[in-house]
Structure formats: C-alpha cells, structure tokens
Symmetry: C2
Subunit: 351 residues, 2 copies
C-alpha cells in the first residue's frame, strides 16, 4: 500500500499482542499478504508462549513476553488476546503513544471508541482517542454485504442464524475439533477441554453466557449491539441465533432481511456485485453457493442464495446466505484494513 | 401397542420397501422398539441388496428383491426408497389390498393423499384412499413443536434455517461424511461421490435443485408447502433456508416465528412442555440446549433457546432452536406412528 507523507518512509513500528494465537498468526500473514508498511514488528504473547519463532518476510521473529514495558516506542499495537489482556495493556500502549486496534470485545461499545468495518464506516476511524475496536466476527460477516443494501432500501428488520467455525474460539478449539473428530472415527474416548460440548459431528448453541433477562447469549447480543453501532442506527431491529458448527475457520450466516421498501432483485444483485469486500457466489443452475471450504483463506465474504423471501408477499424481504473467513475478514484482515485506513487518512503515525 | 379388535390378533403382514437403506433399517428397529404388532415382516430392496440378512426380534430376516409380485397379501407397506420406486410400486401394493405409508415425496402434495404428523393431524389418516404420505424430515422437525403454539397464538409468519445431517441423503452420504473426514484428517485426497461438495469440515446449501423462478431449492419448497398442508393453512407465510452440515443423523432448525398476538413466554413454555413428541432442553444457566449428539436415537424432538425475538418490540415473535433425529421422528418413527394410529383408529387391517 502507498505510504502517506505523514508516515515514516520506512513504515510503522507495529506490535501484535497475542501473536501466537489463531488471530495473531493470521495478522502476521496478513501484513505480508497486503504489503503493509512495517519498519519494526514486535510479537508479544504470554510468558508461556514467549520464545516461539514466527516467520515474517523471510525472517524468524522471536515472540517476547507481554509486559507494560514492551509497549513503548510503537506506532500501532494490534491486540488479539482476551478482554482481560486488552483492558490491562491497551491503555499502556495508548499512553506510550501508540494507536491500538483491539480485537477483543472490551472496548467495542464504549462511546468514545470507534467500532469499524472499513467498508461501512471508515470515517469513524478519525474520531478515535487512542483505541479503535474491531467488531465481532459474526457481525462483520453478516453485515458487510448488507450495508450497501441498507443504503439503497433501508433495513427495517434483520434476522441472522449463524453457522460458526471453531476458529472463533481460538486455535485450541480448532485443534479440539480435529482431535475429537479423529477420536470419534477411531472409537476412542475424548473429553472436551476447550469447548463445553463434544464437537465431533455435533453442533451446539454458541458457548457464550446466556443473558438471564432476554435468553440471548453474549455472541448474539454482540451481533445486535455492534450492528446498531456500526450502522449508526441505534434503534435498528436485529435478532441473531448463534450456533457453533464443526467447521474450522469460516463462518456462515443465514440472513433474512426486511427493508422499508420493496426490493428489485436485479438491483439488489447489482448492488452486491459492486459491494467492496463481497463476492457473489450464487449459481442456481449448478447449486454452487457460499461454503466454508471456498471462503477459507479468502479476503472476500461470499454471498449467495440471494432471493425474495416467499413469506413476505410485499417484496420487501430478502433471504441470503454468506460465508466469510473468521480469521481474516472476521478478525485479522479487518484489523489490518483499519490500520491501512489510518495511514491513508494521513494520520501522523510513526513520523 | 394394544391391538384393536379389528386387527388380526397376531398382528399385521408388513413389508418394508428399501429395507437396507438408512431409513429402512431404522424402521425395522423402530418396529421392535415400539412392539409393533407384526405377524409377518417382508423386507424388500433392489436386486443389488437382496440377500442381505437383517435382524428382527432375534431372528435374521432375508431381504428379497422388490417386484410387483412381492407386494401381494400384505396389510401395510412402508416405502423408504426413491420417488421413482414409490411411483412404480406403491399403486401395486394398494391394488393388492395394502395400505401404503410412503416416505418419498412422490405423493405428498396430492390432494387425496393425507400428509401426516400424528401429533398435528392424525385425523387426516382416516381420509386415505390407499396411500398416506410421511412428510419431509425438516418439516417434521421444524413444525411438530410449533403446532400447539399455533393453536394457542396463531402463526402469522414462520422463518426456518436448517442444519441438516448427512442421513437425509441416505446411508451412503453418512459413509461419505465419515470417510471424507478421515481422508481430510490423514491429508489424503477424497472425491465426493454421493453429495456434490466436499463434506469434511464443510457445509453447503441443500443439494436439491433450485427452482429458477423463486431461487428456493426443493427441500425449502417442501418445508413451505408441506407445512401449509399439514397445518391445513394453505396461505400460511413460511420461508426456509436449508443447509447441509457435517453431522450424522440429527437435524437442527433455527426457528423465528411471529404470531397473531403477543405471546407470554411462560405460557409458551408450558405449552411446549405438554406438547407430545417434544422435550424441552433449555438450560440458560449451564448453556445446555438441543444438540444432534443428544437428539440422535431419541424419539422426541428437543426444543430450546425459547425466547422472545428482540427484533419484534410487539412481543409477538419467538425464536427457538430444535434438534430431532432425522431417521427417527424425521422418517421411520413418524411412519410407524402413522401405522399405529391406523390400528388405534380401528381400521380393518389384516383381519
């Protein structure tokens, strides 16, 4: 990407917190794939993971232990760890002069923290006061394709049912899916350690705590609240049912969306065909639609099954089915895009 | 089960067409599990599968080739094969004096064929003229729990997203899921033979043909049309998105249902708790909800995630998530229940 005059000509001093996790490793790869201008890359993790070597641009980078001191003299710090880690260390990074892009949910709903999907609300990036939040993966994959439709037809109500991959629960959950599946095939016992239920050839309601007032789980409430914040529509009517399926790293979503006005299907398709970050995969003849297999390792969110909802005779409702890589657009890629937009906007970073 | 005076005291002469398939084998087990009054059991299959031995009540029953002659002197014939087989052979069975209970979709929408989920419309059984149709598995699992809610609150609109198991595509698809998953874990190549897409750690839109007018696939149109017929509500507003997930034999459904009037959640729960064929699994505290693992090999449909839909401020909409064994309540069990209801109604069968 082009480096703005306000940016140090050799690029940024960047740190990744949680560098050995599923998202952290994907961020490192994404920096490479997108030729992000990095002058110095610092990889940070817990003491347990410190000492790991991770390849970056042909070199092995040593992972160091995350401490407050390690967060000095940085331009951008990408957090890809727990809420607890972000709450403890992100303020230090900001105080030391860095801009934080946080993958956790710790800061997402704070009024002074922009929550950004660049395809939707890149302008919000400029309002940051040190921390910019990366949204929930299911929210990103559900609503990135919907934004241009919302602008054209205005969403009245949005219903989402998810088919979420193991990666959303981290690298250990991906390993658990593989190992428990092998044990199942071998007829061997396997006690789940990471996720609360057997995962081999099984699926289950998302493993976040259920709110006793509403019966919605934490993941579902994130989809609802974050959609409203990102769209800038605090009253938008949204519901979600979030389900974990035995898939490795791409989420799918079945979306039913009702608009304020009748929708012309051809126009909706043209809008989606031109939507950034979106690729239509919708072959009615050969029955080829978005699948995790095809979305994995892709930057774009695949969208298909685009049709009028037969249960709405007014023609205001569409059904569609999308698949997006949870680790990329659902996490690492979106974070890098936020960083890219920071630079393109000419923020004085790292000069 | 009790034998009605109109039934031969030693039970019925029963045949199963497609006895070596996934549903056929489950019908044989179900007859045992429910102590169905069988005097004589004839197992029929294609020439390729003839010669197989299948255990029934401690004996081995030889599978014979399906021919028109084999369909004589029977009281009830359960078809669990393709539409083609049902279209060719069911009329013969009826002509020869049997009542046909058909698992295929060949006769479901014919006006003179009752389409029956006994918990919903058992009375329709009496209207048969030789053939009674067993509904689509996704329809059964979606709407059996909804019927008593419909009677209490009247459904205005029903949206379903499915998470369908391999078994719906037959025993060979279940084998393909297992074998392709093992190949994936071993890093070995695997070319799909039964289903159109790689199945290991993947999911895909249901593999039925997509209607070029509506964009709905055949499975989805079945859910829509069969729900209307079974409920006796030809105008009911229904939509479905049907998806195949890497699970062996229990379907799940994410249901969003809007009623004519506001719904009291406690009352909805009481209704579901008393609904026949349904078991509530809805522990908000421990995060235990319906899962294929728990629904497999069970007669009941598990229902949970019962909550008001937050996107409907009028309190008229509920969201819920159900799981039911595709081979049992989705196929074999429902067919046997239809046969049981035939007997209980005192039909003159086999006297």
């Amino acid at each position: 990407m082009p480096v703005h005059p306000n940016i140090h000509p050799e690029g940024l001093r960047l740190a990744i917190v949680g560098a050995t996790g599923a998202v952290g490793r994907e961020i490192v790869k994404c920096l490479e794939r997108r030729s992000f201008p990095v002058r110095d890359l610092k990889l940070l993790a817990t003491a347990r993971s410190a000492g790991t070597m991770i390849p970056f641009r042909g070199q092995q980078v040593l992972v160091q232990e995350l401490t407050h001191d390690a967060l000095r003299a940085l331009d951008v710090v990408l957090f890809a760890a727990s809420n607890r880690v972000s709450l403890e260390f992100a303020p230090t990074a900001v105080r030391e002069g860095a801009i934080v892009i946080d993958n956790s949910s710790a800061y997402r709903m704070k009024p002074d923290v922009p929550l950004v999907i660049p395809e939707i609300n890149r302008a919000a990036i400029a309002t940051h006061t040190g921390i910019i939040a990366n949204p929930n993966c299911s929210a990103i994959i559900s609503i990135t394709p919907l934004w241009p439709l919302h602008r054209a037809f205005r969403i009245r109500r949005l219903l989402v049912s998810t088919y979420q991959a193991a990666s959303g629960a981290g690298a250990a959950a991906m390993t658990e899916l593989l190992e428990s599946t092998r044990a199942h095939l071998d007829g061997a016992p396997y006690a789940p350690r990471v996720l609360p239920h057997p995962y081999a050839f099984n699926l289950f309601s998302h493993n976040s705590a259920v709110d006793p007032d509403t019966g919605y789980n934490g993941e579902e409430l994130k989809v609802i609240q974050e959609t409203r914040k990102i769209f800038g529509e605090p009253e938008l009517r949204v519901s979600a049912t979030c389900v974990r399926v035995p898939v490795l790293r791409a989420h799918c979503v079945s979306v039913n969306v009702e608009f304020e006005q009748p929708v012309d299907l051809g126009e909706a398709r043209r809008i989606l065909a031109n939507a950034p970050g979106v690729r239509i995969v919708d072959d009615w003849k050969t029955n080829i639609f978005p699948m995790p297999k095809d979305a994995s390792d892709q930057f774009d969110i695949l969208v298909g099954r685009i049709r009028h909802d037969l249960s709405d005779p007014t023609g205001r409702s569409l059904s569609l089915f999308s698949s997006g890589d949870q680790l990329l657009k659902g996490a690492a890629l979106n974070a890098i895009q936020i960083a890219e937009n920071l630079l393109e906007a000419g923020a004085r970073v790292g000069v």
